[in-house]
Structures are given as structure tokens and as C-alpha cells.
Symmetry: C2
Subunit: 344 residues, 2 copies
Amino acid sequence: MHKKISAGDAAGASRAVTKEDVARAAGVSHITVSRVINSPDKVAPATREKVQEYIARMGYIPNLLAGGLASRRTRIIAAVVPTIGHSIFAETVRGMSDYLMAHDYQLLLGQSDYSEQIETELVEAFIGRRVDGVVLTGVQHTAATRQRLKAAGIPVVETWDLTPDPIDMLAGFSNVDAGAAMGEYLYEQGYRRIAFVGGEDPRGVARMAGLSAALRRHRLRAPVRITVAPGSFLQGGREAMVQLATQHADVDAAFFSNDVIAAGAVLECNRRQIRIPEDIAIAGFANLDIASEINPPLTTVHVSSHRIGETAAQMMLARLGGDAAAPAPTVSDLGFSIVRRQSA
Amino acid sequence: MHKKISAGDAAGASRAVTKEDVARAAGVSHITVSRVINSPDKVAPATREKVQEYIARMGYIPNLLAGGLASRRTRIIAAVVPTIGHSIFAETVRGMSDYLMAHDYQLLLGQSDYSEQIETELVEAFIGRRVDGVVLTGVQHTAATRQRLKAAGIPVVETWDLTPDPIDMLAGFSNVDAGAAMGEYLYEQGYRRIAFVGGEDPRGVARMAGLSAALRRHRLRAPVRITVAPGSFLQGGREAMVQLATQHADVDAAFFSNDVIAAGAVLECNRRQIRIPEDIAIAGFANLDIASEINPPLTTVHVSSHRIGETAAQMMLARLGGDAAAPAPTVSDLGFSIVRRQSA
DNA sequence: CTGTTAGCGCGTTCAC
DNA sequence: GTGAACGCGCTAACAG
């Protein structure tokens, strides 16, 4: 078999340097080069150093496409989040990314914009790229998503919620319980007419459901429900506060499904001279920076966005590295806690 | 050549469905399946529909690794941002992502944490994956980054700044000019002792340089420089404000390199009953949501974070789709503008 | 409009 | 410790 070997690379778009090139230059076979890269200790120190020098000098960068095709492992984990524009998910992504990079994996990120349909398309694209695993936000997905993922037979971690029926692994906390816990807290503080302000994503809905259940247990009326349009949370919170002030004067406490929305409401209260918590108590969710910085500081539900991502990544790699003998845990309930500050 | 054909997939981890499988089932050759996917109009409608049905029924997902290896195009664009935890970059990423997804490309994201060294490693990994193009934040990179990128011969877009010496393409605005413009504005408003508060990344430094130059033109003293540690911007802003109030009482205006930091300062002022702009004027940067929502609303420099991302993606795909005859523009100066509100 | 023939660059057996 | 064959699944030319 004759290979066309161009003498030098003087002309045209020079083809990328390949393992073969390095091998030839170093006077070894390409498999030796491969070993120097993937398992250096299986190569005699002398050859290793020589090869390493050629690699550096020639600027050789292994083609991971070819490697992935041959080895059926890509060292890529894919993740779908609703959007990185919301700090909670941005934090989760950072948590994953940091852990993965530290272990020589890379993160392929997709944003679903809260659409299950887009999520399905993303998952399909990810499987096409033969990612080693997929991390999803939430536990509600299309049938197609579940089916594709199961057919692909790759590890999956769902995050930010719990369910008795996960696709595979799970790293989150119970949004229903968190909503209920805040309901109990507000009840204990003496509030009796409570509103819920938030979007309509499944996790917001779950928090609302928990809140409702808690109120029901104490024979209070169902919460006033105010929906915030996607887009600017600060503005959404302000508008929600306007609604509460003008149309629901009896409400004495509001639980916001997100600290940023709550912060918007606080800003509006300050503007209108509405006293917090005397005139209305305000509770947030997520314990973001802004919760402790705003005035008055927000009572909120602490959940560790960053740790969710980190844990998801960790479970993923544990499975991939897996010891079938000592199987990694398959569910992590990361819990939550009420952080009491001055707003409620 | 005999291929081992497993009868059904009853046993074991069933190998993923391949083009070959679909072709056999549909009674065509694998290349026809390929065409149905990549250029459907080059296939007779009857065969096309038949093949499409088999594709759907068998749940076939093309292996993009193999495709990329063979075609030398991956339809992946990689991007490096300092962090997606800051909304300006999150917005830029969204702008890119939206544009790319709409054109059937995917985004591979890396976070450099403001480290040029990490950026270099990321770029190397990206090239290893044979991405079709790379988008970078800023115009300052290691020699290795520049060299790798040029050797790879792939399109590059640098963003968020301008330079006379780009690696390839450029989509940003002049941070120096923006800093200078704010300096002029503050001078016109009558402020004479001005501080600059921000981080130490190259773009912050550029804004500071522009500000300094403007002040120098008016024979004012060089700005007081307060550095904000990375981490919580709100808290950083508050701490900076404390420093200003306690150690630099003569300062009558402060230019913050970021609206979030400025917002932290505003919160601290409100807490301390420092009047804005009477006691101290506050100017931000980026024109984020929070700038218009906080009280008082912030005078700031508007730059379109989202549009930077979108434009970068657009330039990238224009180049890749490229008509060598009508070469796409290689530099986009997206400009900036001063948004005047009540804080300065 | 459809099929055939060659690789893309690498990792994985196995041998030596 | 090192090397040779083979194939991963696909696309690019060219034929027919």
C-alpha cells in the first residue's frame, strides 16, 4: 500500500499533523505514540521522552473524533438546562464543569428554554455525538427523551427534583417538600393569607403544590397564584408586587419561586413605602447572593445549586469509572433548608 | 468479506443501530440512507419516504463522530468565556447558542475563569475535537493559543473588545473608548474627583485606561482605583462603597466596571443614607436589567451582550458558508452608548 | 437517481 | 516493551 507522502508542507492548506507523522519522525510506530499519550507508564522512559519531544515540537494534537470512534468513549458529558441566564442553573453548570474538567472530561451544554421538545432534540443530537453521559434538569421529560436515552444505554442523571421513577440516577431535592416547609414556616410566623409567585415550570409547580398542601393542613385558603412571565425576573417581581398591592390587599405574605423575583418585589415595596415584613412578608427561593444583600435581607429556601451540578458530575463519573462490584449510589437527595432573615 | 450479523438483538448490550442496518432493512445501500439524511432532495421521493420510515421506526441516530471524521466538518463551534456566572457572558452565550442552534450547529462551551492558561488548554481540547470554529472572549491570549489556532487553520472570532491585531475576526467594541466616554460624561456633569471600581481583567483595565485618559485631558487627577475581588459582585460593590465612604471622602463620582458591582454599591449607600447622586454619583457598565430596576436607576454604558454573541456566531457561519467571492466582513464594531439615568 | 470503492485517524486485539 | 492487522461508522469521489 503506497501512501502519498507530501515532501514537506510548503503548499496549500497543510493537513493536520497526525499520529503517523509523529511516529515516523520519532522513528517508532504510531501505536507507541498512542501509548505515550494514553498510558505513558507502559512505554520505556527513553522512547517516551523522545516521542513527547516530537509531539511538542510538531504541535501534534490527537484527533479525538477518531479516538472516540475507535474506542467508543468520548469523555464528553452533555447537560441540558432550561437556560444559563438564571443564576441557579449557571451555578449548577459551573459545578458540573469544574468537576468534569478536573477529571479530564468536557461538558457539552444545551439550553432547552424550558421546552421539553427542544430537550428531546438536544438529547438526540447528544446521542449522535456519542457523549458518555447525559445530565438533565428536572424529572419531567417527553417519552421520546426517555426512550432515546434508554436505547442508547448511557448513564443519565436527572437533577433539581426527585421522583420515584427516575430514568437512571438522580441528584436533587424535593420541591414539594421545600414548598411545604416554607408554608409551615410562614404559618408559624403567623401569616394567614399567603400568595405564591412564580413561573410555570414543573419545579415551580411542585413548590406551589407543597405550599398549598401545607396551607390546607392548617385549614387556610389556597394560595393566591401570581404567574410571572419569563424574561426579566426583577421586572416580573415588581409587576407581581404591583398586582398584590392593588388587587390582593388581604395577602400578608408572599412566597416567590426565586430570589431574583422576590428581589424585584422588594425593590417595588421600597419604592411604594410598603413595609416588609409588617405590611407584607416576602420569602424567596434558592438563597442567591442577592437574598442576603438586599434590604431587608430575604428569608429564603437554601438549595445548593453548585453542589447539585458537582454531585451530578460525580455520580456520572463514578458510574463510568464503575466497579460493577461496588456500584455507585443512584439517588442523591441533597435536601434544602429554610434560611431565616428579616423579610419574613 | 463476511460480517457477523447477530440474529436480532436479544442478547447483551445491543450495538447501536447503524446506517448499514437501516439500509439493509429498507433494501437500499447505506449511501442512500446517508443522502436521505444529508440531502433529501437528491433521492427519489418514494425511496426517501420509505427510508425515513425505517429510520424513525428503528430509532436510528447517525454517528456524528464518524461523520465528522470522514467529512472533516463537525458542525460544532466552540466558545471560551471567563465564566457564565456573570450575566454579561451568559447573555453572550445565549446569543451564540440561539443563532447556532437555528442553523443546526452546536456550541461547545468552555470557561476560563479569567485564566489565559486555562484558555489555552481549552483551545487545545477544542481543536482535538475538530470544532469548525472557535470564539474567544477578549483580545489578549497566550502565544500558544494564537499559534495553535493559526496552525489549525480554523476561523476564530474574538469578542468583547477591539484590537488592531486580531487573530482572525472580531466582534466587539472599544473598552478604552467606552471608559473615556463615561469619563467625559462625568466631567460634563460636573464631577471632578472620580473613582474606578472593578476587577483586573484586560477589559476592565482598558475601561480604566480610557477613563484615566479622559480625566487627564481635563487636567483632573488620575482616578482612585478600587479593586474588587472575584466572587460575589454585589458584596464586592458594597465593600468598595465602604472603602470609598471611609477612605476617599473627596470622591464625588464612581464608575463601576459592571452594573452588578454598582448595584451592590447602591444598596450600601441606601443602607448608610448616602444620597445618590448628591453625595456620590454612581455609574455602571453593561446596562443589565438591574441597572434600570434598582433605586435610583443607574447611569451606565449600554453594550449589547446578546448581540455580541449573535454577531460572533453569524460571522462564524458566514465564513464557514463562505463564498470566497463575497468574503464576509472580518471586524464588527458593535459600539456602545451612554444611558443616562438618575444615579449620575 | 443510485451504488462502489476508498479512506478519515485512531484504539483494540493479538502476536512478537 | 513494541508492532501489525483490522475495523469503528461514515462521507467523498466517481461510476453506472
